[in-house]
Amino acid sequence: MNLRVPMTLVVFALLAFAFHSCGKSGGGLENTAIVALSADVENFNPILTTSTVSSEVQYCLYPQMFDLTFDLARGRLIYKPGLVKRWEMLDSGRAIKLVLRRDVRWENGLIVSPQDVKFTYELLGDPSVASPQKHYVDDMIFTNGKFDLDKSIEILDDSTMLFHFRRGHPNQLFYLTIPPLPKYVFKDIEPRSIRQHPANLKPLSGGPYRFERWTRHQEIVFASNPKCTYPGPAILDGVIFRIITEPQTRLMELKKGTIDLMWPVQPEDVDDLKESYREIRLETLPPRQYEYIAWANIDFQEYRKSGGKTIRPHRLFGETRVRQALTYAIDRKSILDAKLGKYGELAVGDISPMFRWAINTNLRPYPYSPEQARSLLRQAGWQDTDGDGVLDRNGVKFEFSLLYNVGNARRAYAATVIQENLKQVGIVVHLVPLEATVLYEKMNTKDYDAVLAGYNVSLSIDPADRWGSIDNPFNSAGFQNDRVKELINLGMNAIDEEKAAYYWKELQAILHQEQPFTFMYWIKDIVGVNRRLKQTNISTLGVLEGIGKWKIGDPRSSYSMD
């Protein structure tokens, strides 16, 4: 009987502790930002990573070659000195001379040298590394079909280096933006086993933060790097990245205040956040990614079999008016309304609306019109001659599989809408959600009729990937058009934007007419930030681009700013 009171107290104390531990009260963390990542990073090596999350986190660890900004008003990338102090275009852009700063140091005190930069490109160009970023060397010098490191990159002295390119165009500087790796760490390993190198998982930092700890699928902990000389040690004591794959949980943690920053916020959650969570600030990024359906314009199977000789129109999508009809038949607006609202816009082509100067404003997105679609299909000879509700022509039914990747709610939603819309005009679509691995393999080998996918555009316009040679892996439609090829060449080599814009606009008009893809919509990512986090400077370049300058303020004082 006497024990009951103390026991109750103990239980209450335990409960109190339990609930207490929910909050963020631990010592020494007041000046640490907590960021939620939607996926785990692959590793910390910029030349071995493919995911956006991985490259965002790398802003913490590597000195950037240039201080980049994207001028939204003019729609162009602006280069300011970074690790590269000065640069000079030589030989009408076919060579670039870089002068590096001499005072930028790795964590261990070694200077970030031209050797490091050259070594990074050596790895990039080495086939046995199989770097996903190897296209950075594509325009440099090749001998016998192999990347020629020494001819491409010359080191003139301990701060000066010279890059050589096969052709000159104003965008070459872009291919020098990859951050350098410390040669000292990696030099002794055979390139083919670089993926197994421990430094990929425990990097030597040269950026504002240094690596502390990484618990897979849970968290990454960085502390301010006091040895950082450029751009200087982070203002925060540290940053903790929490890996939270569930969008719901991520949002909940942001609301609870247990994380300071997360993205992407789902558009459907925006209203609630704005109304009930005044301590959270939302930032919208410019549209850098779009979704599309790639239709196989040519018979890929035949093309593969003949080793690239036979180019025959695809049995279904080989005709322009059929592709136009498909675009008419798909209610893209309804998907946009349901899933993106004002955080998206219907796409006309694949040049981002960010690049204002290059956009052909005369083109309007195709409206949703099943009637128009049906009449175009009828003109092309597609009719329901047998009464089963499915179009057919010469005994072939209009029936195909649409591939897309699992794990993306918006894409799954879009796929279902597409299937339903096309059924209304008499087309049978089989939905094939695939794991990313399997989908990429199919896209690599062009083994599909139609694929629904998304694409993050680069900060410079380069349509050659998509609309150039059929063999180009990103030419997912197998699109072939001589005028387009010509325009790409003219545009890439144009001396200024005005000239380039002229060619890009014509290119867009052709693509709009031909509809090799059905361009769905541009997506603006939303970043949710707790107001206590200041100076986030979130930009087109990356959410974490300015992470070294982030500051934590008093949450209460910020309310008045609203």
Binding site: S21, G28, Q218, I244, M252
Partner: protein, 323 residues
């Protein structure tokens, strides 16, 4: 002792078969694991190089023997998708799964046995019927759905328990007791799904076994001798009633791991189950083989353990057991 040794010896070919079957299944499947980390830009020679680097271009039997040799030396290979040695990843994940399934197992049996005995003694009462009904429903419930409902109720509607993960982000910075409490808090919902749900089934089983025993002659004799009820139940009945429960205990191992796959996925518990699901989706061969091997080993060990415990408790098995 001989019996135990024989049982252990018979488990070895099982393990071997397990490894082989997994290896065969995984390598028969279509799909190319290199596609994930090669940019679509890469020319085919890059893919080929990568395959060489990862040893994927060698004939199957060579890959198999190479892998067997590695396993024997405790090296499970290198995870393609996570860029880390599989053994490191396992070392991180296994303890977490053991924490989860161990707690669940404890809850399962402690609760199950207690309720089972209680209902057996009060059989036919309303309480007994309720427990029986609840057990039936628990047994018939999809774990993932129960998990989702608990998340909805206790993480979203009334936010008292975290919905995912195995600890709060900054838990390491807390004093040790708070850290433990934090982990316990994360454990609650998954353990309820894994443990409480199966406790209902255990209770039913214990109840049946207890009822069998209570009706035996020697219990009647004990009662007739005038022993107290507590002594009768506690000393005589319980011991015998729990013998079959030991078997159940061993056989619960695979169930908890199999169940943990789903529960870990629902609660984003970063253990073996979630890792296996991830590995399966990304075709991470060494990872799949390793997780299957580890969990298969646990199943075999569980069975072995059950047999051995059984033999220790019930000498009849040792004498008459022919395998």
């Amino acid at each position: 002792m001989r019996y135990i040794l024989r049982r252990i010896a018979s488990a070895i070919p099982l393990l071997f078969g397990l490894v082989t079957v997994t290896f065969i299944i995984v390598h028969l499947a279509p799909g190319d694991p290199t596609a994930l980390f090669i940019d679509r830009d890469a020319d085919p020679s890059y893919a080929q190089n990568l395959k060489t680097a990862l040893g994927l271009d060698q004939p199957l039997h060579i890959q198999y023997f190479r892998w067997l040799k590695q396993v024997a030396t405790g090296d499970f290979g290198f995870s393609f998708t996570k860029n880390a040695p599989v053994s490191d990843l396992l070392a991180e994940a296994v303890p977490r799964t053991l924490l989860l399934s161990g707690s669940a197992l404890a809850v399962n049996f402690l609760m199950g046995i207690a309720i089972g005995i209680f209902t057996a003694l009060r059989r036919g009462t309303r309480f007994d019927r309720w427990v029986n009904t609840i057990a039936l429903f628990m047994y018939s419930m999809p774990e993932f759905w129960l998990g989702l409902m608990l998340i909805f109720a206790f993480s979203l509607a009334i936010p008292i328990f975290p919905a995912s993960g195995c600890k709060s982000p900054l838990a390491e910075y807390l004093p040790w007791y708070e850290y433990i409490l934090d982990v316990l808090q994360h454990l609650v919902l998954p353990v309820v799904v894994l443990g409480v749900a199966s406790a209902a089934a255990t209770a039913r089983y214990v109840r049946g076994s207890m009822l069998d025993v209570i009706q035996q002659d020697y219990i009647r004799t004990a009662r007739a001798k005038g022993l107290g009820e507590i002594s009768v139940i506690g000393k005589h009945a319980l011991r015998n009633a729990l013998i079959p429960v030991v078997t159940l205990f061993g056989l619960s191992f695979p169930f908890l791991l199999g169940g943990a796959v789903i529960v870990e996925t629902v609660f984003a518990w970063p253990g073996m189950g979630k890792m296996t699901v991830d590995a399966i989706f990304t075709r991470d061969y060494p990872m799949i083989i390793a997780t299957t091997l580890v969990s298969g080993t646990m199943v075999i060990a569980g069975n072995l353990l059950a047999d051995i415990l059984y033999a220790l408790i019930d000498p009849r098995i040792r004498l008459g057991g022919e395998g």
